[in-house]
Point group: C2
Chain length 471, copies 2
């Protein structure tokens, strides 16, 4: 079976998720999917990095998945933002529950009644915790594995509490830094964008999002950072005693990344042959394929085994299966293995192997005694750099700068415009079939545009903004 071309992105995505064994899409409920062992390994590798970054200055915790209606409803804006998509548990066995329970869509209202108890004194601040949990949304739109699901199985949500607005604002910048590091690690280019007032997180003072651009030109929100000011603190009565003896409401932030990071990983780097994975997150990092001819098997296998042994610090597969080499190439390409070695009888004799990298067409010969851990890590670094550059180049091609709102509609990808902060101008540019993602917090290095210019609607001072169809 061959994959559809990646140019038909939607079909390619659906197919690669199933055939590369990321998720099984055949679960009998719409919007719910099963993580295959291979997909789960990618998830573990990707989330280990996220954990490593979070662990530097957050404590990992776990709060319940069930939130009583009474707590969920407390913050007016917040509940309005979620009420259409919350799953409600109404019965335990055959017994109707006294208080309905919501399956967490996100955990503010599970955590903050407890933060009230945890925060008493300025010495308790800042409080910084995170958890990686399943969250639930009753999605009525078209669902897609890893992108729009009814059970988000791996939502990393961090929540912090600070003494004032400024300290929380500083922390928002730090959180943006964490997420940059994470996406740089995955070689996924992103735009850091401040969402318009009307599209911020329900209950937040402001929201800054990470958007990446998918192969079809639509954007995918792959991370958000929210400054909550003291909105939730007032609702949940989170106060602390300052050194001066006065009591003040705390200021909070929260920020999250879901398994959309893996959707982006697959979509941004993949090609017509399947997955293309950075070395660090590949379940199989190196595959060694013996090219066997009758009577010469032993020398080839010995060279292969020696190489596998030498590289055992990595996740290496020596594919001794019955399939022909071509079938093996196909299989491991589909799975995104970054580095492939082939060794045939003449290679074994000469003490060389033929090397190829998943992202390139070329093959080259390398003396086996030059292959060691250091060499592999060097190749891995170069591979990542190539992936990042190629992805940024493809994304840049999907962004068009326009100086006239009439041009917004026809462009298939992201449209960049200058826009002032006036809400009317914002709504006005959204009348052209695309949503306003918001304003660039900083312009990425792969976009050759100035941060400031005249508003495309009214001509006043504006900043660079982005419009797109979104996932």
């Amino acid at each position: 079976m061959t994959l559809p071309s990646k140019e038909n992105f939607s079909e390619w995505y659906h197919e690669v998720i199933q055939t590369a064994e990321i998720m099984d899409v055949r679960y009998p409920v719409k919007g719910l999917y099963v993580w295959f062992p291979f997909g789960f390994k990618i998830r573990q590798l990707v989330y280990s990095k996220l954990r490593e970054i979070m662990d530097r200055e957050h404590d990992e915790v776990y709060f319940p998945a069930l939130i009583p209606e009474t707590e969920l409803g407390k913050e007016g804006e917040h509940i309005k933002g979620f009420e259409d998509e919350v799953y409600w548990i109404t019965h335990g066995g055959l017994t109707p529950l006294d208080v309905k329970l919501a399956l967490r869509p996100t955990s503010e209202t599970a955590m903050y009644p407890m933060f009230r108890l945890w925060v008493r004194n300025h010495a308790d601040l800042p409080l910084k915790v995170y958890q990686i949990v399943n969250t639930f949304r009753y999605e009525t739109k078209h669902t897609r594995p890893l992108i729009r699901l009814r059970e988000i199985t791996s939502f990393k949500e961090a929540h912090t509490v600070h003494k004032d607005f400024e300290e929380a604002a500083e922390h928002v910048k730090k959180a943006i830094g964490f997420y940059k590091e994470f996406y740089d690690f995955l070689a996924i280019p992103y735009m850091v964008i401040r969402r318009p007032e009307w599209d911020k997180f329900p209950g937040a003072a402001y929201t800054i999002a990470f958007d990446t651009i998918m192969p079809d030109g639509r954007t995918l929100q792959i991370g958000t950072v929210h400054h909550l000011a003291d909105n939730f603190a007032r609702t949940f009565d989170i106060k602390y005693e300052a050194p001066n003896g006065e009591h003040y409401y705390a200021h909070q932030t929260c920020y999250g990344i879901s398994e959309r990071c893996i959707a982006a990983l697959i979509s941004v780097h993949g090609d017509d042959l399947g997955l293309v994975l950075p070395f660090e997150v590949a379940p199989v990092q190196i595959v060694i394929i013996p090219i066997l001819y009758k009577g010469k098997e032993e020398a080839v296998m010995e060279a292969c085994r020696k190489l596998a042994e030498k590289l055992k610090a990595f996740r290496v597969v020596l594919d001794e299966g019955e399939d022909r080499p071509g079938a093996k190439y196909y299989k491991w390409e589909l799975k995104g293995v970054p580095i492939r070695f082939e060794i045939g009888p003449r290679d074994a004799e000469k003490g060389v192997a033929v090397v190829s990298f998943r992202d390139e067409k070329r093959k080259f010969e390398v003396p086996l005694d030059e292959v060691d851990e250091g060499k592999v890590l060097e190749w891995a670094r170069e591979l990542k750099q190539r992936l990042r550059n190629a992805a940024a180049e493809r994304m840049a091609e999907k962004v068009k700068f326009v100086e006239n709102t009439g041009e917004i509609e026809e462009w298939g990808g992201v449209v960049a415009v200058y826009l002032c902060s006036d809400e009317d101008c914002g709504h006005s540019v959204e009348e052209h079939g695309k949503s306003l993602l918001g304003w660039f917090e900083e312009v990425p290095d792969w976009l050759d545009l100035e941060p400031e210019g005249k508003c495309v609607v009214c001509g006043r001072e504006g900043r660079l903004a982005a419009l797109a169809k979104t996932y």
Copy 2:
């Protein structure tokens, strides 16, 4: 604040869970608790070991938490066993759902419709997967953190598929071996017991359980292994093609461990001062406490820092806080830190430290240059051996062998009797205020009893059985 004595086990447990910061019991829904950072670290350390054991021959996967009513209800026995305690989701937002969704109480009915698709041919067998997930039970009995909860946050469930009954039975033995290794690692003594017919897992051919004995003499089931025969395979149509071209129903097993393993860890080893943790699962493994006197601080701190540096391969805390040494001892004892060093001015001068272990009263002096990683690991091994022996001794004291059913009721702990396999005899011994746990698969080395004897009810050939009040 001091803990209640462990002799009042129920109060001690409740209090230690909160004050040692395992879980916060103040969440506003009965039966739901919050993992504190410290408790979560214990969980991570304990479950890393479980993962390590599982990873040897299972693939980790993730199946959805939501199971449609239509699947959950397919296996008649199974649904009967769970119908009173399933949480039902009936609404998405304000919209009633077409098919009610159950929050998984366990995952057989989520997994097996997919296993039907995964298993086609004998080459697909054996299939062995596991997942660590949250599961839900609408508990109406008295709830307790880690023991009886409405959200079990860390259920490790493994599921395997085999070609026939015998292969599955062999795998049941293997699974018992995995769980023995796990509980030996935690130094928790257990009884491996075959449950009576009327107390097996709903849908299983037979169930073998791990029970440990709590300080109050009640038993806690801390793991179960089920042979499912082809009961579920017939319901979910899991068939494979054998080498002879015929199609057969597969045979299955499943086995699980929940966070009750952590309840046991706390309860079995803890004492009046708080937690007592084996070295490997202690979030803080070593604490170093400087004993400071005015003017001599520098030499003491330098010795402490040098020691901390030398032991940095471990999780070491050098407690430089303002508290007096006594308050520090108290705090770290509560948290179960296995090894404590104290260094005062005269110790620093002499180049020694005073060492004590969490499970012992004695203190002794050790030359600092004799303390290294090897020494610490030796102490850790000895500590674990002491914990295991002490726990087994305490448990043995709670088991009483009786030859007369009249004595069953009065004994506060576990009662051992010989019992034949006749169901009437089984029900008859249960009339004395205790449940029949079942028959010992093997008699633990800390119980000095023969495996076989005459049935306490009818006098026929019987095997050693256990009766207890259970959690």
